[in-house]
Symmetry: D2
Subunit: 268 residues, 4 copies
């Protein structure tokens, strides 16, 4: 198995783990020989961890309990990624993954890549047989995205290109695309050429003006059908013995997600 | 490639396709020689389809246009499954897939299986190397679920068992679990034994009474941490050149989703 | 006291009451001598009610219990009005009433009146000293609206005019306005003339296209500030001893509500 | 007219006005002779305002434009009140006002009063002929609430009592009640005695545990019917020429609102 996320019970030097104190205190930490894991709850010597099993409890220098967990994809989304751009939230990514029907073997287009947050989700769900082709026209983000992917062992499933999909895409016959750029209506011809017939696209669209403009452009393009748009609202439920209730503050709007499928344009 | 969902451009007899008229008129149809596809928009002879490419446009006997699409997972969730029980909606499944971090190779527990709606999503995301172990204590649903899975070519990734997880689970060292039974607090010991340390569970919980009872039971069990609960609201945005707006009617509540991760219980 | 809604404990002939069986079976009924109140739960002779107090329990011919309640404004909104047009929902009306700060004495503009659903809410909150000036350019609705208002005893607080506010409004110095017409951007000059400086307007706007167009028009008009828009979502919580949970189906979107306040346009 | 909120076009010394710069910069200010209104946008001499009309534009010492508006109820809720406790939000108050059908002349019970935030809304909607009876068992809040009400000229419509409604209420035959205390199930007998038959109550309930406990208590009490619960979600829509979109962050949950109406308990 190739991914960092592969489950192994051994806590070895070099492995990245999630140190869990409570729902607000979680840290992704690489186990480095001789080092200490420090937090406001005290320190934990790495050397005291490596002879334990994943899932074990440890105690800090301040006598606070913590647990050593296998990191999951969601931990990297929440805690592990170096972010330099706005990212698509997990609530939205979940729907996108499901609607596109990503699976091992898919060849997927992504634009723009940004910090690689979405890229690592795509790579996770198309591995081990698939591949992500990511386009990013802001050169400074590309190394950051590559670093984030390498850390998770997902870089082998991804090719990141410095380029602008509005001007064209090198690949052909792709299975799906996820597009998060400010003016996706400029990329419809590129997408039409790059995707195989019946392939799905997910467009991430923050504002109403963009949604209207994109819908009109797709409606006129005639190369896509099954056009639908959604918005996802996620409510966190605070859990305690005294009071279970939805959180007072929540993320209200991240973006609209518009889906469409390519058809073979009728010659008539 | 093993799944029915594998993309192939050839429209051959025996293949299942999605006939798309518009967003309200979509049908999953198996291409059977000599048959006609009938709808209120007219008929389409199957024999006139098989020499076409996926993504092609066809015209019915009533001169209405339709398109032939490759079915996706979401099409089976929306149109293809024989349902005999309440199912978990795509909006909730998307979050679950992402939070559990399902990947090819995962061995996942499911209870209860019902019509196999969730099962086919789990199988889709753990194939080709993973496996789903589904438990169902209502015997009459098992054959229905198996039929739904076989139709999609996903049955080889699933073992459905007639049994009650509250009384125990045969498997050990599982990577994740998704539990949709009325009294999940009765299954905590079974789950603790079946899962590997650090593995995640998603509980699907319709009512507040169940949420309170489950949270209290997990909180007291001491075998699980990172307990959190969410609710997903999906708004469909109606798209037309005249009026883009969220739909007047929506699904408001399906259930709460509570997540937890197994730890190694401290012996103290 | 002048309104039908005035509370009096006497159940007299001619009075309108709410017959309550359960949350799904409520009826507004006028107590007419010698008549019977009929429902699928059996009949209740009106003559057996008039000697009772408001709040009393009665029993139908089928031995089903019901209660006789004083109708409230919400009962007329939910059960009592003859509707021929789309109406603004209570969830939205509540916010509007509060944001406009309606009070006894306010002189309020309304367009369009439709069935008078909103009109009766406005009249309720500006009585006994205020007045509603309602404009409606679809002649056939005016008598229906007047009938609905008269039934509640609110007609004396309302003047309904057959006219188009886009072409002008007769009144000047009004305290507030609520506008529910398809193209409110055409009415900004009329509104500016009719309202007193600092007066508030609530615009009810179903679609994104309308919201964009209205915002742009107000932004350019320069006669209004404190422009803000909201959307209200109402979740009904189903209550039962077995399962308390938000309703499965809900009204997801009725409209956006845009508020603005008139200023004195600077001459510069 | 008695309320501070009464509209008068004259800007006189002693009057409270809303100084509006933009949607984030609004201040309630009393016009005091010789004083300056200071903000990060510069100062405005009060003496330069008093000869102007409400709705006028003024310019600060830093040459920034502002407008002088008549304060509305919502301005006091948003900007004007000294808060020492959690308050019920406008989104929830709007629904409560509408569902209770408050009107001039209503005699309304409130518990607990807290800072008087809800009290001033109740007083606003029952004046000039109605009255609010507010109970508060935390003595330190009573003077704060009275001060907030006096500032708005609403104190004459309110009697605030130091007391605990769980132990009883002095008034009888009240038209409505709004209850915001941690254990409202302890107050059902007091409420039953204080309200007239058919009168409505609104309970504000933050947590699921409280909602379950209150519903069970009301269901067993047998003195109330038409029991229903709601939750209101308010989305603010950010307005700009470039991007109109729901706000990224929103208030997600404040509380559930449970409504019920008193009946005459059957002696059987």
């Amino acid at each position: 198995m190739t991914s960092v996320l592969s489950h192994s019970n051994a806590l070895e030097y070099g492995k990245e783990v999630l140190i869990y104190f409570d729902n607000r205190r979680k840290f992704l930490v690489k186990l480095e020989q001789g080092k200490k894991i420090s937090s406001d709850r005290g320190t934990i010597p790495v050397d005291s961890i490596v002879n334990k099993e994943i899932g074990s409890q440890v105690t800090t220098s301040l006598n606070v309990k913590a647990w050593i967990l296998q990191p999951l994809l969601i931990d990297y989304l929440e805690k592990g990624i170096k972010r330099v751009t706005q990212v698509i939230y997990p609530k939205d990514l979940g729907l996108i993954i499901l609607m596109l029907g990503l699976e091992s073997g898919y060849r997927v287009l992504e634009a723009g890549v940004g910090s690689g947050n979405t890229t690592m989700v795509l790579a996770h769900f198309v591995k081990p047989q698939g591949h992500v082709f990511g386009y990013e026209n802001r050169k400074e983000f590309i190394e950051i995205a590559k670093g984030n992917l390498a850390r998770m062992g997902l870089d082998k499933y991804v090719t990141i290109k410095y380029g602008d999909i509005r001007k064209g895409v090198d690949e052909r016959g792709l299975d799906a695309a996820i597009i998060d750029i400010p003016d996706p209506w400029e990329a419809l011809d590129s997408l039409y050429l790059a995707l195989k017939p019946s392939a799905s696209i997910a467009f991430f669209i923050p504002s109403m003006q963009q949604l209207l403009k994109l819908f009109e452009a797709i409606d006129e393009h005639k190369g896509f059908i099954d056009i639908r748009a959604y918005e996802i609202l996620l409510r966190e439920i605070e859990l305690s013995r005294r009071a279970i209730r939805p959180s007072t503050y929540m993320v209200g709007h991240t973006g609209f997600i518009l889906f469409a499928r390519k058809i073979i344009k009728s010659s008539q």
